[in-house]
Each structure stands twice: as structure tokens, then as C-alpha cells.
């Protein structure tokens, strides 16, 4: 290897650039908002820090409200139609179930992440005293060859034992760890380039960031002849509970859920569906596991996007969305999205242009939808 190349690599290493964001943040944008909000812990049922960030970021004149569950929303304008945009602020994770006599932490089952990909994973336990780092122990005998004909090992999140570096329950409690504390993966942002990254919890912090960005950019004094609500709701990953609570007080005519389009843009997946390209623009998530958007409504969104020069794709995939709980109450659910690869993993991937197209699309819909 050439000396100059070595020197270049060493200088990169000396700066510790490997695990830091490799690109400086620019002026506030959907992208920079995402890079902040994605690192805030907010396991389902423990979204308070994320809700705080959202409320703090919204201008006071928008009059944001917050309920006991930590749903945050504001409403602007008046009259019909009533249009609701909703992104969920929770993320996948776990909750401390108990601490063993040896000071190891057991967790309650958390849905969504494949437990087998979490062996030897660094995590953070979010306690009243601050974040406590830990390591999820790999399964016992991880380095032993499995006997032929042995029954497959069951490895679920209940199998997890989180090591903290202590050897007794008392020492673990002295660190602040207690039952009910939320636990998240210790996130790394992987920067492929200044405009593309992977990390945990892009689902749905990207939706939160796009919605925040749109709220900050839209000139709300120009809103006429309609009611618009922006909401950041909780507990989507565990059963759309935050949206269900909002559905009791909000009766929109249209709901635009802002959430990941589960893309199969990867080398390992069938392209039979979900085949929208990361970097291809905003997405109309036309059909998923919870909702079928009527074709005329899809065409309306595509027309709005075209009118504003916003790159857009439409497709069908899997997964549910928060908007679906408003449908029985009379709303039409039109989920808007971005093509997200590797959904529900530690490396959820997103493209900056898609996120900014999504923010632009939200603003265009607020302006033009009647």
C-alpha cells in the first residue's frame, strides 16, 4: 500500500471519523432534523424525550398540544376538509423486566427486531440517572459447533442477558437500572455519502423529521378554507395505540400517515413487490398490510407532486400505518413515505433527497388539497 494512502487513512483514523457523522450538519433541514431526532431514545411507551424535542422545535405560535400519552399535535386553519398528517415518534426496543442476582438485565419481549441480530449488541438502558451502557450477551455456547440433529436453539428477546460490567443486582441498581427502564440499541450512523445514511430508528424518525421540517417551512398564514393537523403520535410499533387515542378526538376527512415504505431495494429480497428505489423520491404507500388507498386519491397525490416538481414513486408493500385507525371513523388514509431499505433492522437506510422530497410533498398537499 502506498505511503500517501496510508497517511491519508491514518489522518482519518486520528480524527476518529469512523463512528462520528462524517459530514458537517448544514442549516436546519429535514436531514439535519433527522440526524438529531433519530438519536433520541423513544421506545414505545417511553417517547417523552422525543415528544420534548418535537414540542421544543415547533414555534410557539403553532400552539402545539400534548396529551398524557405524549402524543403531540397542532391544528391550523378552519373549515372542511380536515386533513391530518401523522408520524409516529416511538421506536423498537425493549423494557427492563428484571435484574438477576448476578447483575444481569433481562428484558421483556420487544417486537420488530430480529433477536438473533442482537447478539453481542451494545445497548443503552435509559434510567433516571442517565443512560447506562450494556452488551447483550451472545447466546450461551455461541462459539461451539451445534451438534448434528440437535433441536434448533430458541433465541428470543426474553433470552437476552444484558451485561453492565457489574456482578450483583445491587450494583446494577446503584447505576440507576430498574424495572421498566427502556432499552435501545446504541446507535451508529453509517454515512454512505453526504446524502445517504443508515442507522436504527429511521422508522419513523424520518417521518417525524419530514413533518417537523414541513411545519417549520410552511407559511401557515396562507392556509385558507381547510383545517390541517400535524401529529406526532406514540406507541405505533406496539399496536397503533397513540393513533387510536388521537382518533377519539380528531375526526379528519383525510389522513396522511408519514411512515416508511418497506422497500425491497436490497440484494436479498424478492422484487415482486416493494420494489421502489432508495433515492427515487417521495412515495405514495398505496397498499400495505393495514390499508388500501383508493386509486383516484393516489392519482391526486401524484398530480400534486408533478405540479410542484417533486420526484415521486408509488407502490405496494407490507407493514401497517397509523392512518388506518382513522378509516373506520370516515377518513381516507393516504400514506406518504420514502423508500426505506432494511426496515426494522439496526441499519435502516434512507436517502436525503427522498426525505426532502417528502417534506416538500407534505407542504404541497397542505397547500393544494381540498
Amino acid at each position: 500500500m502506498k505511503r500517501a494512502a496510508l497517511a491519508l487513512m491514518m489522518s482519518v483514523l486520528a480524527g476518529g471519523a469512523v463512528v462520528r457523522p462524517a459530514f458537517p450538519q448544514e442549516r436546519p433541514s429535514a436531514w439535519s432534523l433527522l440526524r438529531q431526532i433519530v438519536l433520541i431514545p423513544g421506545v414505545s411507551g417511553h417517547e417523552e424525550p422525543v415528544s420534548d424535542f418535537i414540542q421544543k422545535t415547533l414555534p410557539a405560535h403553532l400552539g402545539a398540544e400534548r396529551d398524557a400519552m405524549n402524543n403531540v399535535w397542532f391544528t391550523a386553519g378552519s373549515g372542511k376538509p380536515h386533513i391530518l398528517f401523522v408520524a409516529h415518534s416511538d421506536e423498537l426496543g425493549w423494557v427492563v423486566d428484571r435484574i438477576t442476582a448476578e447483575g444481569r438485565v433481562k428484558v421483556k419481549q420487544g417486537g420488530g427486531l430480529l433477536p438473533q441480530t442482537c447478539e453481542a449488541l451494545p445497548v443503552l438502558i435509559h434510567t433516571a440517572k442517565g443512560a447506562v451502557p450494556g452488551i447483550i450477551a451472545p447466546r450461551p455456547g455461541y462459539d461451539e459447533r451445534r451438534r448434528e440433529n440437535a433441536a434448533p436453539q430458541v433465541y428470543s428477546s426474553e433470552s437476552f442477558e444484558i451485561l453492565l460490567g457489574v456482578s450483583s443486582e445491587k450494583d446494577a441498581r446503584d447505576l440507576g437500572v430498574s424495572e421498566g427502564n427502556p432499552v435501545t440499541a446504541r446507535k451508529i450512523i453509517v454515512d454512505y455519502s453526504p446524502a445517504q445514511m443508515s442507522t436504527r430508528a429511521v422508522d419513523d424518525r424520518a417521518g417525524c423529521a419530514a413533518l417537523l421540517d414541513a411545519a417549520l417551512r410552511f407559511d401557515w398564514t396562507r392556509l385558507k378554507g381547510k383545517t390541517v393537523t400535524f401529529a406526532w403520535d406514540v406507541q405505533e410499533e406496539t399496536g397503533l395505540f397513540g393513533a387510536a387515542a388521537l382518533a377519539k378526538v380528531l375526526k379528519p376527512d383525510y389522513v396522511f400517515a408519514i411512515d416508511t415504505f418497506v422497500s425491497s431495494d436490497s440484494p436479498l429480497e424478492s422484487k415482486r413487490f416493494g420494489d421502489l428505489r432508495v433515492g427515487g423520491g417521495a412515495v405514495v404507500r398505496a397498499i400495505d398490510s393495514s390499508n388500501i388507498t383508493p386509486k383516484p386519491q393516489i392519482l391526486r397525490v401524484l398530480a400534486v407532486a408533478r405540479e410542484h416538481g417533486i420526484p415521486i414513486q408509488a407502490g405496494n408493500s407490507r407493514g401497517g400505518n397509523d392512518g388506518s385507525v382513522f378509516v373506520p371513523g370516515g377518513a381516507v388514509d393516504i400514506p406518504l413515505s420514502w423508500a426505506g431499505a432494511y426496515a426494522h433492522s439496526l441499519i435502516e437506510k434512507i436517502d436525503r433527497n427522498d426525505l426532502e422530497a417528502l417534506s416538500a410533498l407534505i407542504q404541497a398537499v397542505v397547500k393544494d388539497w381540498n
Binding site: L114, P122, G134, G165, D171, S266, E269, S317, A341
Partner: protein, 372 residues
Amino acid sequence: MTDAQKLKAALVAVFLCMAAGAGRAADVRDTLKALFPVPSSTGSEQLLAEKIATSLPKNLSTERDGLGGIVVRLGKSGAETLVLAALDGYGYIVSGMTDDGYLRLDRPVAAPFARFDAFLLGKPVIISTRKGLVQGVVAQPAIHLLTPERRKSLVEEFSLEAAFVDIGVRSAAEAKAKGVELLDAVTFMPQLTELAGDQWAGAGLGFKAGCAVLAGLAGTISAGPEPGGIVLAWAAQTKALARGRGARPSLGAARMKNLLRPRRIILIDTVQAGGLIAPIIGAGPVLIKAKESPPLLAGEIERAAAAAGLPLQSGAWAESPLATAFSDEGTEAVVLAIPVQFLNTPSEIVAMKDLEALGGILAALSKTGGAK
């Protein structure tokens, strides 16, 4: 931490400094933190070797062997005693590129255990290229798109056949434009976790801790009177096994033996900690007694540790391939291993106490005649 605990910690720190030279206790942390993010896998040790060489005291002259290892000779009486640490961990190389820009992987050496590759799935990695470090991830299918059967088998049946590294490009040409070439090293993205109890976790932390302790020893020895015939070596390609009949010694260690011809050898290695009969993390380095009659040097190490009041574990754990390289008649080779919990996973855990004790024992040996 209570006042009593703080006092105890302070006393321990003072004692360690007295035992092996002021400042060393802090140095091993600083050195390890500096070395930790530097990728180094078998056959691709150049970056780490460079980092270690530049971190050594300026009054020491270093030699490099043809594989990238570092040798530092201290004193003038030849290679009486060799202290050797491994410069390489397990990693991957770029073995191919798909037309759409994904990188394929192979291992330069055999995996340490059957499920080793499964830790790759869905993890961030770095590729060491001629243009610098390139970040990527090992692709993992979206969970929503998997059948229940495939969810179960995805990790359990994962092999390098299913490993595709995404570096955010759409073609092989774009990958090459980033500087990626075949044979570039691929390792886990470094993420150091500082746990309670002064334990640290991270990928490759065990062997890098050995490198850091040896660098600390170089600093300690160079600051004192000239020692007699000690050679320090950071050996490349220790995870590769030499070919030939009989036992398969570590290639990197075998080369150092032939290059230096030492009579007494202390091998800094790692050993799995935390099992039922395995050593305990935080209870001191481990003197491995693989044979029924350990060499005299083992007794000297035990006495040096006892005299310095430093913890030392010993036991009859399996002999390391590093030691196999030095099993000739007329040589005394012992393994002093760092207990590592979750060895060869992305989160190897080591205790700073063990590193300090190891550094202290080596420093005490170098001063009190253990090296003669």
C-alpha cells in the same frame, strides 16, 4: 462511587504506578483508545502497525518484518527474551463486486467458530481502501418482507453466500470510484462501549488490548535503565496457521521465532472468559499452563506478580497456536493471556484492571531479572 471506594481506587492506582512506572495506568487506556478504531485483520495489519510504531517512544528504533510486523530490540545482548503480541484480528476481505455495486466477502483465514459469520448480518462495517475508510453495512432483508420460516432461518443459516455489503452505490464502477478494490479489508465498524466496573467492549478489543499493553511496556522499559536483551514484537498474520506436518502453529509467531531465535518467550494472547471453568474477567491476566511441567519462566512470572501484589490467574487451558510456534527444545515459552468475555464477537469485553496488572507484571519482570 462511595468515598471508601474512591480511596481504595486511588490507593490501587498509586500502587500500580509504583509497581511499574508512573503514568502507565493511564497510558494503557489512552493507547487502547487510540488503537481501537484502527482496523487490523489478518493480512491487513498495516494501519495498526503504523499507528503503534508512531505511538512508541521516539528513542526506540523499530524494524518491520516482511508481513508488516513490528520489532523493537531493547538492550544489546541479543534476543534473550521475546515478548510478543498479535497485530491481527479476524476479519474479511472484499472478494468480489456485483454489477449493482454490492461487495462480496471472503475470509483470509478460517473462522474461529462455526457461527462467526452470523454476527455480520445487518451490521455496519468499514472497508479499508487506498482512498481511506469507506462505510457500509451488511444487507439484511426487511423483516416485514420475510416469511415466518425465513425469519427463523435468516441468522441461523447465514453464511458468506448471503453477505452483501452495501456502500451506497449502484454499480461496480461507483464502488471502484470510492476506492474499493478486491482484497480490501472489511471489519466491523468500531464502537467502543465503556461499561461499569472499568470494563470496555468492542470488536477486536482483546488483541488490541494486547498491542496496547506491549506498547506501554516499551514506554516503561525505554524510560528506565537499559535492559538486557529484550525484544518486543507485534506479529502480523498470527491467525494464519503455518502449513506442514504435525501441529499447526501460528504463522506470524513462527516467523518471529525464526527471525529472532529467542530463548525465552512471553506471548500476550487472549483467552475466553466467563464460562463455568473459564478464567474470570477482572481477576488478572491468565498464565496458561498447557503442559504438565510448565517452564521455569512460568514460576518467575508467578513470583513477579506476587511480589508486585498484582492479580494473576493460572490454569491448564488449551495451548494457543501462538505457543505452538515456540514448542522447540531449548526454549521456554509461556502464554500470558488477557481474559476476554465474548471473544471473537463484535463486543469483546476486557477489564482495564487485567490490562494494568498484565502491564505491571511484564514491567516487574523486565526490572527484576525475569528477562535474564
